[in-house]
Symmetry: C2
Subunit: 596 residues, 2 copies
């Protein structure tokens, strides 16, 4: 039997680490907020991106962004009869502008000015650049108009007009999505919710917050902090992303392990439907079984079923004690066992369980300034970041000590350090910012299969790329990154559709927390059966019968039939303006209805 003392040399002071037994007082925040505050957002320090708050104050003045837009096959500056390619694989994902959508006219702009006034209508092309380009600079639309409503009534009037006139619309929040869901594909009108940023109410007794959709996540969290509560979700993009976008993309993030998904935490929504109908589902009740829970269908619908204008969310109490441990494991099996041990020993205080492999750590140490190895003497294959959050520092420390002791005793972990300053733990998340051509895949997999996909991919690609794996192990969420010297179609064809097929084979999800967006709408069939996609198309048809909301994205081109059980291979693609997409797309499941 190993004893704690005999292993105590494993716990060292490493700048940000303290010896086991030392107390970690007043840890300032959770992992996610630490990432936010320590400048690790993708847009910071690069000078290419304004923060959303600056956007708000500058009312979309000239953008500093110099977007590098990949994967555009033909692009003429004019808005109609375009063809664009978005799939990662060569020849995949051609998209045509749908001629059924009207083109913007001067009269439209006059009308919108009547609704919003001069300031709410942005037409300057330079001003539009930011909103036309996605966060990753991977997708760029060509919208000529951005609208910034300040009230639900204005959103309703805008959509009523667009619905009647068949003007396509892209709802946009903080524009921090990673799959191109928040930017136009062609000339869609951008409906930016950023000016609807008021906190409407907060009830300290119940912890229920009601606010407008354009509130920035970090702003909400700061507001709650002084009132003894915290938001139930936490993301790297918290300084820019908006709660309406979080809801519309069913954002996951770090705290999901502890507080669950937005489907459980969102208590109410106000949504404006495509025809301008205001759906007031803005309840503030934990229990409400009066009819179907309609609001649920808008959570994660990526703005294709309605525009979220207000949100009611249950917020947990802010707990005072936060601890972080950085641990080294010999193999992935040990990581799994350590997770089981953590759940057992840490019980109700476990709040995050993240992992990264050695390759990830090395890339971070090699490429990113300021990243330090907290365990320089350990050369293990896997690293874990375990966070606890509780109400009593002494109790939490005891639980954490018992867990670490037990994990050492059972040889589940080889080494470890406890964070003194929690913000320093964030340096490992710089792995997301490794330079070069990076293909990113956001997958959900059964825990036991989580890492074998990384190993298989590494074996498959051999010397042509570096394959790294990290993610939210507690949620079964793998971020698989393939890092190459440059973007290369041959490399892509080795990755896709293999990565999706492998995921589907173990009933995983090809989009865990990012959504489908424009990047992978047709990949939906790897994770959902055709009958389910038909139901989705039915919802779309019911709620947006002219398809004006966020077109060319999930379910936009599946024809709703109401015959869910019949074979669906004869469903036609109805929204391309020239050649049927079926002939253009390289489709894995040929018998299935296609999505653009």
């Amino acid at each position: 039997m190993k004893s704690l003392s005999r292993n105590s040399h494993n716990w060292r002071r490493l700048g940000w680490a303290v010896k086991r037994g030392e107390t970690i007082e007043q840890a300032p925040a959770s992992l996610g907020s630490a990432r936010g505050s320590s400048g690790l957002l993708r847009d910071e320090g690069k000078g290419v991106r304004k923060s959303q708050s600056r956007i708000v104050s500058r009312a979309l003045s000239v953008s500093d962004a110099k977007p590098v837009v990949r994967q555009i096959d033909s692009w003429c500056g004019c808005c109609s009869s375009h063809q664009r390619g978005y799939g990662s694989a060569p020849g995949d994902g051609q998209v045509y502008r749908d001629k059924r959508y009207a083109e913007l006219k001067d009269a439209d702009i006059v009308h919108f000015r009547q609704i919003l006034g001069e300031k709410g209508v942005v037409v300057d092309r330079d001003d539009l650049d930011w909103a036309n380009t996605d966060w990753m600079h991977k997708y760029r639309g060509n919208s000529q108009l951005l609208l910034r409503p300040q009230t639900t009534q204005q959103v309703s009037e805008i959509l009523q007009y667009c619905h009647a006139g068949r003007l396509a619309v892209v709802p946009q929040g903080g524009n921090t999505g990673l799959v191109g869901g928040s930017v136009p594909v062609f000339d869609e009108v951008i409906l930016n919710l950023g000016a609807m940023n008021k906190i409407l109410s907060f009830d300290e007794a119940s912890g229920i917050l009601v606010c407008e959709a354009g509130c920035i996540l970090e702003t909400l969290d700061n507001y709650l902090k002084s009132r003894g509560h915290t938001m139930p979700l936490d993301l790297g993009a918290k300084g820019s992303c908006q709660i309406g976008g979080n809801v519309s993309t069913n954002a996951g993030g770090l705290r999901l392990l502890r507080y669950g998904s937005l489907h459980g935490n969102v208590l109410g929504l106000e949504v404006v439907l495509a025809d301008g109908t205001v759906l007031d589902l803005l309840g503030t009740l934990r229990k409400d079984n009066t009819g179907y829970d309609v609001k649920q269908i808008f959570i994660g619908a990526e703005g294709t079923l309605g525009v979220v204008t207000k949100v009611s969310v249950l917020t947990p109490p802010k707990l005072a004690s936060v601890n972080v441990a950085f641990l080294a494991c010999e193999d992935y099996a040990s990581c799994q066992k350590t997770f089981a041990e953590a759940k057992q020993q840490l019980g109700e205080i476990l709040s995050a369980f993240e992992f990264l492999d050695r390759h990830s750590l090395e890339l971070v140490l090699k490429h990113l300034d300021g990243a330090r190895d907290p365990l320089p003497d350990s050369k293990e294959s896997f690293y874990l970041v375990v966070e606890t959050t509780g109400s009593n520092q002494t109790h939490d420390k005891e639980k954490l000590d018992a867990f670490l002791e037990s994990a050492l005793e059972k040889e589940l972990i080889k080494d470890g350090a406890v964070a003194q300053d929690i913000s320093q733990a964030a340096s490992f998340w710089k792995v997301r910012e490794v330079p070069g051509a990076v293909y990113k895949y956001d997958l959900s997999l059964p825990l036991k299969d989580l890492y074998s996909l990384v190993e298989d991919m590494r074996e498959r690609l051999r010397d042509s790329a570096t394959v790294i794996g990290y993610g939210h192990m507690g949620d079964g969420n793998l971020h698989l990154n393939v890092v190459a010297p440059s973007y290369d179609d041959k490399l892509v064809s080795q990755i896709e559709p293999y990565v999706y097929e492998r995921t589907a084979a173990v009933k995983g999800s090809v989009s865990a927390e990012h959504g489908l967006g424009l990047m992978k709408p047709k990949a939906i069939y790897y994770s959902k059966p055709p009958a389910a996609v038909q139901v989705m198309a039915g919802f779309k048809d019911l709620l947006d019968r002219h398809g004006i909301l966020n077109p060319y994205k999930p379910t936009a081109s599946v024809k709703s039939t109401k015959t869910f059980g019949t074979p669906t291979f004869d469903v036609t693609i109805c929204r391309s303006d020239e050649t049927p997409l079926q002939t253009k797309l390289k489709v894995k499941f040929e018998q299935m209805p296609l999505l653009v």
Copy 2:
């Protein structure tokens, strides 16, 4: 400043209570399971009701039940052209059998025997009595056929046949609902899921359980207990209710405060649609953002959109330490403050916060055998039951002590006792079984308004009835009971619609956790706007276009339009066979589309 020691006399040994400072070891289970195991289910000890497990083993042999069915206006034993009254208010809620539904023929029974074999087809009227009558003996249908499928394929074939032949169907689980949702209204075919009761998989690493819909909640909890986990929901009816029914009614219960609703905990569903289509949404992933989260719409749909056949649910670890405190408060304001204090002090270990008023306690003590007052020297107006659940008994005890000390110090509570044997705490839940004519209302209200409704009702009814209030305070869920010597239409007219109007005035819910069922479908408008009900009707029309699933219940009679924003007063009732319902119903909101 009061000190802990000076108040220590408030903590006394009272049979089931121990002095503060004593340790509560090995508390066997949570509040809900204690209720289950101590025989507090409504059907036990009364000799009128078989348990579901007996039903299963006896294959629906002659029922012991002697149902007392109220509120049936005309009832002729034959199945067609009926008229029934279900509303609580006189003249309210007349329902006609819809002639568009076919009547059962011998050929149908022959066909079902081909699908299910002899044992799966129940036609004996005595055998059907149990399934025709609801748990409260308030509603009774007249179905002539009960089907007990054993596989999803059989459910699919049954529904395909019923859909084609326009046979109306009532999906039924444990038949423990309180609003008449699980029994037929007329001659609908009963589709009982009780024979689909297999546990399909459990992954100890993730805590994800996959099982068939007919699994009894307590069976699942017992299965998990030996594997270190527990179900995220707990109900009084756990010994009989089935997980498919729990999902279909979005059951709430005790643990919701801690683990959240089924919208967060259900990870996947297999659902058979009305036309027999099997919708495989049986994922086992915590994160899956591939398209709309279709499964959500079946959670709480009361079996009107599809039949849940399999469930995938996230189960939390079973924590070893459970404590219960019974506290007395002077007024409701103190209850609210004590709740705030509990959230602050107990933080992550708080697992239930329930309340009952003095009137409830007195009724229990007067009428129910075995009920004892844990605080006989206190005659306070309010009592709280506070439960903690955690992984470390010493830590939990310290937190509970600190909370109690603080609550005493601040004079939030006047007296208290800590439960030695947790099952004894359950005696207070006998309040639900108080004899006599009891009108039960299950409401969600903002915390600050929760009890004023009880007081107003008491003032309103004065000597004509006893008004009591209890419920899940932590969830804002009030159970308002009006106890009278006998059922009385005049009394009802004093209660309704007042109780619903008062609830609507503070944006509450007229059905917190029980659903609408047959009891109050038209009351939906008190909690949901017409546009939302129109969307619900659209979902119904999309997924069950012949309306065969659980007819005469939520949204069954609202005509789907797709023009959500237009005034809805011209929507006609289309499913009564004689006089339009509009002329029969006493409707509060005359401009709104009606529901039978």
